[in-house]
Symmetry: C2
Subunit: 454 residues, 2 copies
């Protein structure tokens, strides 16, 4: 391939400074940052977080970056395994339709840890994060989800590329060294979708951050790699597509035109489950309220989606909390039984309630032709009652609250943050963090924020 | 898939004790261990090693495992990134035809570091290493090189599985936890072949060891993952084959029947370049001697191989030392010009000699039908002289000295170790290490060995 894709990306990353960022990118980034911190602090008490914090505590090392609420500092590359994992463990963090994955948890912990290590200002950290989202998003858009469909968890794989980009930007690497960093970062990329529904899914986010920092720091120190890793014959885009050539030509010109964080933008989640469940959860909650549906009246629930979805929401008979997050059947059962799908629905006890386990087998996937065009096609729920009545509602992703087309306000963002962090950190700190993130781009050093997260 | 492949593997690993190992496996393992240590110490002075040692020194951490000749101890998972990288950086380490890759550098550093951390005897470390080779080898044999052909560097990917197996064995995990460790390790697996000819290739070996330790230690601590990661619908075997189902059914029964380290066995390298260059280097050295060929007389060199090889030996116009290791054209030019292919051939200066750069364009690949059956088909070199004379020699992999069919003696192994380590560590230590490895299975604690490597 003659086109210089990796070089074009590196050139854009090296040359883009904070002044280039549109206001919309800055405000969107602040929302994503607050959201990431909120779900991370809530996630910090989960078993996966406890295990990784303890692992970090035992191995130790230079005090470069804060483990959020962990009471320890570690080498940046180690701290972010934990911060990334706890950000993603609840699957309550933001997602991107271009990435088909979770950009913020894969990138922001790396950007913040590197900025903390080098005492950089908030604006540089925000820029590094936006550029990481940008590069991963434009690659994914060009790939057209091929990687995801082969079985890769884009949060881990594209996340490694995004975190490499962000870490390289904090280090202010030149074009050539950014190319080498991408060459290393692509080789470190990892994450199998088969681990959806287990703790390892969130570890993918942790590792993406770690991979990015290691790649950027090794490139800075003179480590070598292929300079054209995105487009090369055995490079990132083709190998992770199972050997199929990917159309990459539009990538360099698309960078920043517009920024991925503005369009298609990033969705803030209203429910702590896989984003693929959200349109149907929303549809079910609406119908339940409008028609006063009672679980015991329901004969059948039809889930009209594309045929790829049952292979993403792989847990059709869930019995554990993390499995429930990847179970359309459970999410609809919970929505129907409880009238809400929040943190309290995703416990082992909640999933194993007889009324829920009784509802789960009544939900069936179907894939009418007009639903099967795209992985992000609208979803429709049809509820058939025992008395013969039938209700249905069709919802596109954009209609779910928190999507870029239906965004939530800073006030609502702050409310989610407060909900997440109440009882985890003192009320005073909660207010201070909200305020610091609102003015994140004015921070002289991000360390003002990381001190509050210690 | 109904077959329980991952469980069968875990069961074999959990139940196999040292007494089960045939004598041939033990002696082969000692040879591989000595070879790995020799090329690692020689590699410890390379730039890639210097960079990773410095990286480890800066990040630091618990003093669990020795960085070989690095003067530091680090968390086991960090030390092995460095030990694995320096073991592989010269591409002078052993390789396996079942793995199509480098098993020892991906597994032994992890087995040794974990045994050092937990002060385990040599016999347990040797067993863990043999089991790591076994699991990776049987998987690769079943996959039939699909992963490699898609573009994965099996040293990194299968290496992560092998190092997970070895680390889990040192921790004495039960069947269920070995399954979970494999689930984590498979998700961490990484390494793109595109980085052949750069430092990142050797980092793949380092990361495989690191991935294995992290996976086993997290599984021990209660981290969860998919329990059937090898055979699951989006599992390791299929996703890395680009989405193609792989035949796995014979794997459980093949484990230990015979051990992969005995058959097909592991090849000790006589030349510090990609194993794919070895039959032709051997052929060229033989012909040069027999027919007294002078480089200036040569009009053309025809390299008869399978058509996959030019995409493995990707550097057709090399100018750097590491590129030369993946250049058939350079290896044959060096064999012809110097009558040997040793460490002194692989320097930037050596590659850029006018007589070498002059010979390189005269070497051409051809792929006659009978050479194109398998990736490990015999190779033939045809040398055409300006005076019209023509010589040729066809060599199968098994004919190259150091192969399991043409093994070198312990004496010759010791000679290679001495060649590698002379001037790197004191002569007395060299003798002591050779002696300790010869009696490795009798060591009460592997720490007797690692103290000598400090």
């Amino acid at each position: 391939m003659e086109q210089k894709i990796t070089e074009g990306i590196a050139d854009f990353v090296a040359k883009t400074n904070y002044d280039r960022l549109p206001k919309g990118a800055i405000s969107a980034a602040k929302g994503c940052i607050l959201d990431c911190l909120g779900v991370a602090l809530l996630g910090s008490r989960e078993e996966a977080s406890r295990i990784t914090i303890e692992y970090g505590r035992k191995t130790g090392g230079s005090l470069e970056a804060t483990v959020w609420t962990g009471g320890i500092r570690l080498p940046a590359s180690q701290a972010v395994i934990i911060n990334g994992t706890m950000s993603h463990v609840l699957d309550y963090d933001d997602y991107s339709t271009s990435w088909l994955a979770h950009p913020t948890v894969a990138i922001f912990p790396a950007a913040l840890a590197m900025a903390e290590k080098h005492r950089r200002p908030g604006s540089e950290c925000l820029l590094a994060y936006v550029l990481g989202v940008e590069v991963g998003g434009k690659l994914s858009a060009a790939f057209g989800n091929t990687h995801y469909l082969v079985g890769w968890h884009n949060t881990g794989t594209l996340g490694s590329i995004g975190a490499t980009t962000a870490s390289a930007k904090i280090l202010n690497l030149d074009v050539k060294k950014i190319q080498l960093a991408l060459g290393i970062g692509a080789s470190l990329a990892n994450g199998l979708r088969q681990n959806f529904g287990s703790m390892t899914k969130s570890l993918h986010a942790g590792c993406a951050n770690r991979n990015g920092i290691v790649a950027a720091e090794l490139a800075e120190a003179g480590f070598t790699a292929d300079e054209n890793i995105i487009e090369a014959p055995l490079g990132f885009s083709k190998v992770l597509a199972g050997g199929k050539e990917q159309p990459l030509g539009e990538i360099p010109g698309s960078l920043g035109n517009p920024f991925d964080i503005i369009s298609p933008g990033i969705t803030i989640k209203p429910y702590p489950s896989c984003g693929g469940t959200h349109p149907m959860i929303y549809a079910m909650l609406k119908m339940r309220k409008e028609h006063n549906i009672s679980p015991s009246d329901v004969a059948e629930i039809e889930c009209r989606t594309n045929s790829a979805l049952p292979n993403i929401l792989i847990h059709h008979h869930p019995h554990h909390a993390l499995e429930g997050k990847f179970s359309m059947e459970f999410c609809l059962a919970a929505a129907l039984a409880d009238g809400k799908v929040g943190m309290e629905q995703f416990t082992d006890e909640s999933i194993n309630r007889p009324e829920i386990q009784n509802l789960i087998p009544r939900a069936k996937f179907t894939h009418p032709a007009d639903f099967d065009k795209e992985i992000l096609s609208p979803q429709e729920v049809v509820v058939r009652l025992k008395d013969g009545r039938e209700f249905s509602r069709k919802v596109p992703f954009a209609e779910v609250p928190g999507s870029p087309q239906n965004p939530i306000s800073w006030e609502e963002q702050s409310d989610k943050f407060r909900d997440c962090t109440q009882g985890i950190i003192p009320a005073k700190k909660i207010d201070e963090i909200v305020e610091l993130v609102l003015h994140f781009d004015e921070l002289r050093e991000v360390n003002e924020l990381t001190e509050l997260l210690a």
